[in-house]
Symmetry: C2
Subunit: 391 residues, 2 copies
């Protein structure tokens, strides 16, 4: 019997990265391909304690159905925690989701009609493309430089392509590691405001800064108006617990709540309770500096090794936080082809094409440094250097 | 700024039942309105132990990203467990989801094009309508009697309305409590097979039978061909942990995996590990008989009280399992109007209209007996009896 698939399924594809990860896991090679947080930095003991709190203190209510909007005490904690970081909000501005991936899916579901264009950075986050594709989105891409999205191009693209809303990862971007400067952020918001366009600000890495000065979020700069902000516990606690959140004006949240209710009724009751106890015990703030310190070291090892081993034709931007370093190869080289060479040398990265919503970018690649130790980083980069030098 | 909502959002509505539940919680009245499992039957201690196992045995991997398809050891356990219950499957037939609500959403996402008709029982499960509505489904409704969906009507409806697939809750249906007979199931499958139509079999209550003889699932009768089966841990363990599953042919699962990856990457790693340890310790099989025993008693108290207090014009079917009793009022009466009277007497139910995908059914209502104790059941039914008798 033939499954009578809906038209939108033509746009659903497996994540290239998840496929690479499966391959890597089997072969046991040095992988800079994933975007995995380091498991040795998961606060296993403290989260287990918080989970015990949930069973002991909340009892049966931790296992029962709960409201779609999310667990109020956790939302209240988050309001305080985020406000200290510039994202001023109240519980009615918040919805808990299954990681920020679900936030992207639900936002796509309430905003995208087939054929609508989403304005994105070029390159952009692959997971966002995956989330928007099933709603039959098209993309209006705006090039980036070291300071983030290029504003001159932004205006041209908006005029020519009339996007429905703008999606950005302005801080320690995945894949490029680049942080949009304050002046660019202001210009961006001015233009979007003029054109009546919402910004969707995806900020999974913003809490992981080890150098340079904090740049305010788009949400903060816009005073919450016209910006939908999303972040996650994935990079500061654990990705396996699938807990993220959206901050936005109450009417946006109201629409997302309807979409969430239809999609899976509500966020996980037990996980929300455990995360609440974890936060309330002060563990969240206690733990983040350890992650930052560890990732800073790994980034420095990688950058140092790159300086030593990579040919001078390879260019990159030093990230001030986050999980990725983005490289540009000598013009004319193909990262897709070099990937095959690299795998022969038992080292992997992600070729840049997958991050370009409308194609192109095969002279770029993404390196992840968070899930490898010093020895792997130095050895892997050296091998990559040889592969790059040979071409 | 105006949110540029997609067309599909016009079809998104709040669940009437979830709104009633919020109201009930505030007023503290006797509520037969919800569909909540009884929290005093949650295996709190045993699930806490299983969670400790996950932290102790699996360590950091319990908090890391994992594959979209679901945790293999849990899938292997489920295959054995389900096969003993007639649902024969292998891990490649299984996808773990956030409760069966997500299964309904993902199936809607891969199958429904705007305007497609879904064939449903009349009445049908409200959550399914909520899941399918955002994909702009229409509905082809087939009336039910005490033996389930009426087969003569089924043929007429298929011929006239050409549905895309059929959605059914054949066992202890929500809302009606009715179980489709074996002979009806066979006829249904024959017809669907002839017409090349998939059946989506939603089976959250099938494991909760206290009387009568087990009827094989549609999946079992069809040997897994042309049937997509979904169930959940919500009613046999806990709904707050949001874990359900789909069983289907591998090509169906492959499409659902793509949709799940776009929607929220993967099922919750930690919850899957904890549920695995819970099952492996034998707690699942140990615990279900307690739930069945308790619900049997509550159903009997309610039925007994109904015999005593309800006027002879009210009709109902005695359920052999599950969580609901469906009542039909004297022709011409409105359950929506009686609901208002009942709330004045501090007792609540759900008026039947919300379960009718194409309207109608205001002379019906749903009673839930799982989340009230004996005193509440006897007192609440007596009050209802007075309200019904007065009209």
């Amino acid at each position: 019997m033939k499954l009578p698939l809906a038209r939108r399924t033509r746009r659903m594809r497996r994540s290239t990265i998840r496929e690479i990860l499966k391959l890597m896991a089997r072969q046991g090679i040095i992988s800079f391909a994933g975007g995995l947080p380091s498991p040795d930095l998961f606060p296993l003991k403290h989260f287990a304690t918080a989970m015990q709190d949930a069973f002991r203190i909340d009892g049966a209510s931790a296992l029962q159905y709960d409201v779609t909007e999310g667990y109020l005490p956790l939302k209240e904690f988050l309001c305080g925690w985020l406000s200290k970081r510039g994202v001023r909000c109240r519980p009615e501005n918040l919805l808990l989701t299954n990681g920020s991936q679900q936030a992207l899916d639900l936002i796509g579901k309430i905003l995208i009609d087939p054929g609508d264009r989403v304005l994105v950075e070029d390159p952009t986050y692959l997971g966002a493309i995956q989330a928007f594709d099933p709603y039959e989105a098209r993309y209006a891409t705006v090039p980036m430089d070291d300071e983030g999205m290029r504003i001159a191009d932004l205006q041209t693209v908006i005029r020519a392509q009339r996007p429905k809303f703008a999606y950005l990862v302005p801080t320690f971007q995945n894949p490029s590691g680049i942080t949009m400067t304050l002046s660019r952020r202001r210009q961006l918001l001015d233009i979007l405001h003029q054109k009546n366009l919402y910004a969707l600000e995806d900020d999974p890495y913003g809490f992981l800064r080890w150098s340079g000065e904090k740049v305010p979020s788009l949400y903060e700069l816009a005073g919450g108006k016209g910006v939908i902000y999303t972040s996650t516990f994935s990079k500061i606690l654990s990705p396996g617990i699938r807990l993220g959140f959206v901050v936005a004006e109450p009417d946006v949240i109201a629409s997302l709540v309807l979409a969430k209710q239809a999609a899976d009724l509500q966020p996980n009751t037990l996980i929300q309770r455990a995360v609440y106890h974890y936060c309330k015990r002060g563990y969240l703030d206690q733990h983040i500096p350890f992650i930052i310190e560890a990732y800073k070291k790994r980034a420095e090892w990688m950058l140092e090794a790159m300086e030593c081993s990579f040919p001078s034709t390879v260019e990159w931007v030093r990230p001030e936080g986050g999980m990725f370093i983005w490289c540009r190869l000598k013009k004319g080289l193909s990262a897709t082809r070099l990937f095959k060479e690299a795998v022969k040398q038992n080292v992997a990265f992600v070729a840049g094409t997958v991050f370009h919503a409308n194609g192109g970018g095969d002279d770029t690649l993404r390196l992840n440094f968070t899930n490898s130790n010093e020895k792997q980083i130095r050895e892997g980069v050296q091998r990559l250097g040889k592969v790059f030098a040979r071409t």
